[in-house]
């Protein structure tokens, strides 16, 4: 039983949960299926040796589940069933699979000594010892003073990327405020049903 086997099982579980979430008529069971998919993803993160990623994943799943159940339980509404557009679904699936195949071949052609490296090997540092990820791993402690290499990369080497992420969260929350605000909204807008 290798670790890849467990991860494959969890991915299959996630796909089934996602299909249930899309197909179920009851909103509550759809929310629970989404939560199951998210928790399976966090277990995958743990198996792949990324607790820094699994930790926020579990937290966000718990929050999302509580929030969505709290909202769903207040109304006895079920999602509307509409007839499915088969052509559109087929085109989207085809585009997605072509993209995946293209990514696979592009990663193989980028001089990574014969395709995607095996599971658990760093992608950027596998070719030689001079790879950038090897440099990060060996020099992080003396460069940044952070014992947690992930945080050293996130907030020191790659802090500019983290600034972008923080900006994304900030702007997303700002957009939520704009949609949900009560101050400064016209009187008759209160009659609009909250979604």
């Amino acid at each position: 039983m290798t670790i890849e086997f467990f991860i494959l099982m969890l991915i299959i579980f996630m796909i089934i949960a996602a299909l249930i979430a899309v197909e179920s008529i009851d909103l509550l069971s759809a929310v629970i299926a989404v939560g199951a998919a998210g928790f399976a993803l966090s277990v995958i993160d743990l198996l792949a040796g990324a607790p820094d990623l699994a930790f926020p994943q579990v937290l966000v799943e718990v929050i999302t589940l509580v929030l969505l159940i709290r909202m769903v339980m207040t109304r006895r509404d079920t999602s509307r069933q509409t007839s499915r557009d088969t052509l559109r679904t087929a085109v989207v699936l085809l585009a997605g699979s072509v993209f995946l195949v293209a990514v696979f071949f592009a990663a193989g052609g980028m001089g990574m000594s014969g395709g995607i490296p095996p599971f658990g090997q760093p992608v950027m540092g596998s070719a030689a010892d001079t790879g950038v990820s090897t440099q990060y791993l060996t020099r992080c402690a003396e460069d940044t003073g952070a014992a947690n290499t992930v945080m050293g990369i996130l907030l020191d080497y790659r802090a500019y990327d983290t600034l972008g992420e923080a900006t994304v969260i900030f702007v997303a929350i700002l957009g939520g405020y704009v949609v949900l605000r009560r101050v400064g909204r016209k009187k008759d807008a209160k009659e609009v049903e909250p979604s």
């Binding site: 820094d52 014992a147 949900l180």
Partner: protein, 147 residues
């Protein structure tokens, strides 16, 4: 929005402090172990959401009104930018301007801890604000519509 039963209230009152303390621990030791600004901020937000759900909306507004959330969120984002700009004075954007200290000690990592704190403040305040807007605002509008 009404609160929950006395059993839930007393349990939440016991637990909430520990949840907040754990959130602060995760934020402040982000450079030593798994965690960091985002995870710690979400834990603090989860503790506050627990309090809001247990004690109801009126109590929540006394604890954390929306205006204060907005101010704290902006202040956190601004603090992160200030860390970046202070680094500019020391030689480049996001240069770690504080001494790195000894590895594996709490006082290490330089500006990483400050950045963690700023991100945690922004994330926690922003998510609490969006929760308040989403739950309390929507439910108030819904009850008004039902009448």
């Amino acid at each position: 929005m009404k609160g929950m039963s006395p059993i839930v209230r007393s349990i939440v009152g016991l637990i909430a402090g520990f949840v907040m303390l754990y959130g602060l621990y995760v934020v402040s030791t982000g450079h030593l172990g798994p965690g960091g600004g985002f995870a710690g901020g979400v834990i603090i937000m989860a503790g506050t959401v627990m309090l809001i759900l247990a004690f109801g909306g009126d109590k929540a507004r006394e604890l954390m009104e929306e205006r204060r959330c907005h101010v704290l969120q902006g202040a956190g984002a601004l603090a992160f930018l200030v860390v970046a700009l202070v680094g500019l004075w020391y030689g480049g954007f996001f240069v770690n301007f504080l001494p790195t200290g000894r590895v594996h000690h709490l006082h290490s990592g330089g500006a990483i801890a400050i950045s963690d704190l700023a991100i945690a403040m922004s994330v926690a305040a922003g998510l609490i604000g969006i929760f308040l807007a989403l739950i309390i605002g929507c439910r108030a509008a819904m009850f008004k519509k039902d009448k």
